[in-house]
Amino acid sequence: MIDQCPSSKKQGLPVEKAKTPHELVGTSGRAYYRGLDDLSGAASHKEFEQREFLDGASELTEPTRRTFLKLMGAGAALAGAATLAACRRPEHKIMPYSKQSPEDVIPGKAMFYASAMALPGGGAEGILAETHEGRPTKIEGNPLHPMSQGKSSVWAQASILDLYDPDRLMNPMLFEQSVGMKTGWPFIAGWARNAWRTTVRQAGETDAAFEARSKDESAMWARYGKPGFFEAYDASGGAGVAFIVDKVSSPTRDRVRDAIVKKWPQAKWVAWDSVCTGDAPAALAGVLGAPARMVADLSKAKVIVSFDSNFLENEASAIHHARTFGASRRVLKAGQEMSRLYSVESMFTVTGASADHRLSMAPSQIPVFVVAVAQRVLRQLSAPGTQPLVAALSSMNATLEGEALAYAEAIAADLVDAANLGKSAVFAGESLPRWVQSVVAAMNAALKNVGACVSYFPVGADEAADSMKLLADLTAEMNAGKIETVICLDVNPVFEAPGTIAFEAAFKKVKNRVVLHTASNETTALATVLLNGAHYLEAWGDVVAAQGATTICQPMIAPMYDGRSAIEILAMIGGLSTWSGYELVRETWRGGPAPKDAMADAEFEKRWRRALHDGVVSGARGKTALTALDYAAAAKAVGAATLNTKGPDQTALDVAFVAGTMRDGRFANNGWMQELPETASKVVWDNAAFVSPKTAKALGVTQTPATDQFPQGRVVDLTISGRTVKIACWAVPGIAENTLVLPLGWGRREVGLVGSKTGFDVSPLRDGSSPWSLSGVKLSLVEGAGRWYPISVTQSHGSMEGRALVREIDKPAWDKFGGEDSIKLQKDSYGRQQKMTLGERLEGGELNHMPATVPVYQDPMRNKEEGYTPARAGRPTPGVAAYDRHPQWGMTIDLSSCIGCNVCTIACQAENNVAIVGKTEVQKGREMHWIRIDRYFKGDAVSQNKGEQPEGMFFQPVACVHCEAAPCEVVCPVNATVHGSEGHNYMVYNRCIGTRYCANNCPYKVRRFNFFDYGVVKFQGGLKESLEELGGKTVTENLPANQNLIPPRLLKQLDELSKMQKNPNVTVRSRGVMEKCTYCIQRTNEAKIEYKLATGNRPEEYFPDGLVQSACQQACPTDAIVFGNILDDKAEYTESDGSKRVGSKVYTMREHTRSYLLLGFLSTRPRTSHLVRVNNPNVQLLTKLGKKERLAAIENPFGSHGSHEGGGHGAPHGGENTKHSFIDPAKAGRDGYVLSLGVLPGSGVHA
């Protein structure tokens, strides 16, 4: 066992630390010298030279205060290298993103550096890393990166936490029977290659120690033979060596790979990713001629169809998809075009939730559905060359019934509509069989989408590799004894390998197991040579995004544990001319076999710096999209396929595997990801077998009530072909019947403190030949003590209870009622004149029916009585209401473009030092997220109780809305929460004594109390008892031990390393104080100061729109969140549709007719307003499905009240017309939902 515990040293265990750096790069190069010191070869200089980074940078042996300070110093030196140029020469310059030169580095002021995060399976996200005095604290999207355009994903946001994971591997180690454990990069390098062998005397080493060490190492090398370990393979061409590497699209790695493959043609090269298995690129290779990945520009699309594809969240270009999709949904004018999304999937994903029409289908039946649609589409289009494909499809018996048939027909009709040709995009999820991928590609081609909305970009060989097959083949060879050395780089196949590939057993048979990884995992646990990796923020590299944008990744910080990146290790193993990541990347770009046209010229240095600065290599050879589609090949693929039309039943269930927040398991030790709620179920800290409530009932696996103190899922055994996994079931609406959805990446066995004992490993059930779905799975209930398993959710209630919280309108109604005149001055039930937007008049006009809105809470900032009317109090009009001093901050959240991707939550967590609390605390309702995504299922409770599928799922991000008349402020006895002159609802931590009265009185329940020292104390992990022996333990034993019940003094304080992640501009809250969203006031204040310094103008006079973004807004890929000065009616900006607007973005959105205030009738006058979600349903489909209420709501979206169409107030309440979408018809019929009180004559008469 490798002892990773930093405290081992105290127990006298041998934890050695590499103190000497590896041999300097380029020793095999020509004899240039760089200075007199260099020439003289002085020992001191040599030592200095051999350091990759400056003194002190690579000596973090354990996260103590001292090393922390060193590290900070090193980081600062790295960031502001030139500031220290006088004393030390920086070797590797990194370039800040701003125009500011490093000379101007100001302590306390963040610097941004562009880089990129390689996405698992290929592709990349351009990022900006915010660094404070040399320590990266936050990831943002890179605005210059064409894929990200300033946006980011949850994984990018969370990756910063992995950097500071205290459980990371800290030392390279080599285990040798005779000598024991050896460590240190010089040794490892020397062991690997003779050329790297050096016995450099370390600083302060005595003669005796040096001699002993040299002797020791010599003995070691002797044991491995005179040549270096890997040199021995040079002769045999690498026979017996296998590489298992992750899938990244990196030109440098490709170059290094090619060099190695050339040198060692016999070596096996396995590009492994258990999530991106390479099926889709391979399928597309069949029809396009080269492996490719589909990237769509949805801003132009009118019809989008997703066949089991979570393209808004999970694909390599998900951010791009989300951004363009968001743009296509942001309707601002009546009659404006918007996209229509159909989604067919097994479980609610963000894509399905955003869909206008969603059909839940068992995974085995989705191909049938695709065929049914393709048959219709291709037949009707009869595009040239498609005949054989049409024939092949026609021979398939894809008979659909009922709702599915209606959907298929409607989708086909919408796609082939002449107006939509070339304006649609059809997505096929990677989970679908390859032939289905070809069919979908053929559909896109026939629909003339390719080149218009849809592009197929070629991918590299590694990305296209069929991981499952390669790994299976390798496993067979390993079992056959043909492999004696396996090199695993940044992969964890021992954990991820599907059940059909017995990789672990085979791996153990291999003699030499060289494993590189940043964190300990199941594979590193079996390593004989364990190499600690560098986080992507610590290493040089390059990476290509899905459509070709290339980024050179620069390190933000010196490797904290002196880890090495995969390219460095590959270069070391392969004996390349250098194994410095920096030199390797530069070599690539200076003119290796990779895109030389980008920078390989005389101005290389200039261009290099430019590329580092921008985060994108300008002029790099992008990717050329593939357009020529071979229908015949598709027809051939279809011809070879068989269609499984037999749906699942209770005895033979369908299973769908999904890659959730953990992806393939690499985020398991990331507390932010663990505590990020799963999209539909809101389960945290665990996965579960998700199942529909109806199926759960039929199978007897329904969980205990959500109102239980700790709801428990029924534990079952899932079996297919002798493979079994044990997992708890959790019923969630919206899953296809007789289908179990199993998220991958949980149940890690060898993982740090955070990820231990979370969830269930479902890979053993997977089948390498069909990695995404299985049919015919048997479910058997586990009996005995371990039959229940506690599950934590952040939201236990899924019904909106008929309340007008999320408001929606269908497009036909929007076109009809959303025009210029939709903001109306109308009399409410009390005879008052009210200016009401469309959003406020929807849903029975909640505001319309409330008593006179004289605020209970006096507005502390109000300074003039004049012009203050109850009508205005109800809905503040910027510029007229009390707050007239610029700037006045506000926010809008457009529910139409919000896709519920959670990135705002995690971006806020990173920005504002929001703590994680753990599974038990979440179940107690103590999660700390400042912005949460409320999720509601559509459809009334009665039908859902009967087991019917919900009509949809909605998201509503809710953070503190900064009420102008805030209920929290008035009740705080100590003035800890007060109002700011710019409309902030301040939370003064120092003043707070924690009465929690404010949280009680907050109608939005956005305040978060530090019941314990969540932020200050080290996270202590999840469950007390291991779930390994689930069967043998009682439920009570499995119940979590609440580490928080231990007094804080006795708990381990947060280590210095974890503290490095914290944003220094935001207080880390102690226990006993309340906290909540601040509108990122630290950013606002910084921006104001910056603006004042830069221009000399007072921000009070004018503050340019867009100069400050809140963290959630900045991350939001769909621009659903807008933040700014709500009084600014002068700024000019261009809308996404090209129209010009006057007024800040937030001003226009807030004044927009879709804007409404959440719980506005309370007169709290929130500064955050939500915008009505606009759906674009297919009216024919609604008619066919008999959705009468929905159709009625299109006719009259206002219910019988507040309708300017003259609904007539005298009409009885609860009539037909009130049955709009949010109102549970049963309830409306029973007691009348509407709020009106018909006591005053003339009420409901409109102005």
Binding site: G925, K1005, L1045
Partner: protein, 551 residues
Amino acid sequence: MSAINPDQTTAARLAGMMRAPEPPRVDDPVTKDGSLVEDPSVRAPLVLGNRTFNDVTETVCGYIEKGPGRWWMPAFGLASAVASITGLMVGYLIITGVGVWGLNNHVDWAWDITNFVFWIGIGHAGTLISAILCLLKQKWRTSINRAAEAMTIFAVICAGMFPGIHIGRVWMAWMLFPIPNSNAIWPNFSSPLLWDVFAVSTYATVSLLFWYMGMIPDFATLRDRAARRLMRQGDSAPTLPIVGVRVDQLRALIYGLLSLGWRFSSRHWHTYEKAYLMLAGISTPLVLSVHSIVSFDFATSVIPGWHTTIFPPYFVAGAIFGGFAMVLLLLIPSRILFPGMKDLITLRHLENMAKIILTTGFMVGFAYAMEFFVAWYGANAYERDVFIYNRLMPPFLAGEDGKYAPYWWAYWTMIACNVLSPQVFWIKSMRQSPLVIFIVAFLVTIGMWFERFVIIVTSLHRAFIPGEWGMFYASWVDILTFVGSCGTFLTLYLLFTRFLPQFAMSEIKNVMPQANPHWEGYGHHGHGHSTGAAGGSHAAHHAPQAPKEGI
């Protein structure tokens, strides 16, 4: 046997070590027990057994001088053991964090504020009895007011603890008080929580003063008795073991200090009664204000179920209701445990209090009903949902949509205890039976605790936004803290019974028949009853007969 050479028994008695032989009870031949007399022309006596003034003094002082009985020490041990749990729990809470309770971000107050309001409510009966009934010249109050006032003080002590410890940073609690500081930051005077601070502290202060002032003449009596015994006994007076101080020396010293030089002079009495009346006048609005202000914690909020204008009277009625129940819970066992107390606290007293329970029970029942009416009449769906789906709806009545209130059991416990259980008092035999009254009082106490729980927790756990609904589950610390507070209360009350006069002797003597100069003794109504009954010859027996004095 003379006073100079007393026999052993007399010596002990005089030394306060032994009780004088109990004079046999002499019931009024007409009314028997007397207190439950039905004849409208006959007033029920307030002191039974034909007691003399001296008997009253002996009875009341006897509990202090001779101890309440053998049961006291075990009871005190048990109660103080339970009370010590409070200390442990509070210590644990402060060391560890408020999270040791079951609170969460949906339900930020639960047992802490429930207990606070519960204990504050308990205190109300004391002030009501001592102040309002005093002003209304309800003479029957005299035998219960001291105990009720003591109970008030102790309940306020228990109540005051909870707001103090429930805050997240206890060490910053001083910021609640308007202490001048260099930052010129004052507390937020618009916060009801701050009003609470002032209301409760005023209430505690006035109640304490009132209670203490009422005890001054009785302290003086105790002092004088001790001093007299010391003079009589000289060196033969028994001494306390170990310390070697004479018991009566201690008594004379302590009660002497407490009695503030009271000399029973007419001038003293004159001033005393004026002051007493004034304090009663000051206390009277406090009875109404304290619980009204406590109810503002909820009524001024925006949360449906809290935001209710009927809260102030509803809370006051509820407090009186709960307070009387607690008085009964304490006095009914006392009647059994303390010899002679049955003469002072008659069945009529109990019946009167049972009637008040019935009345105030109706008031809270009316308030419960009004909440529903207002929720319906206000036509606010949020409010209506709180009352139906947060409180009322049991799962077995849930409709097709399956919606029910998870805390329905708490609501129905409250209704059963507070509205239904007092209804037995419609039956005369029930409201005259101490056992039944005790059971009902116990149920009402439980019900009143649940009332506060229902108001606080069920309103909070499902408020406006269903996405943020959640449940509250009490932790063991929650439970033990409350149990500990009950122990604290009982400990303090037991100490009170041991060391302080449980009855206002002068006031009781005032309402005794003998106090009436026209009283002629029993039997004036022609039954040949001798006033010189076996009770010994006291001057009072020769007082002329007077119209019967009583309730």
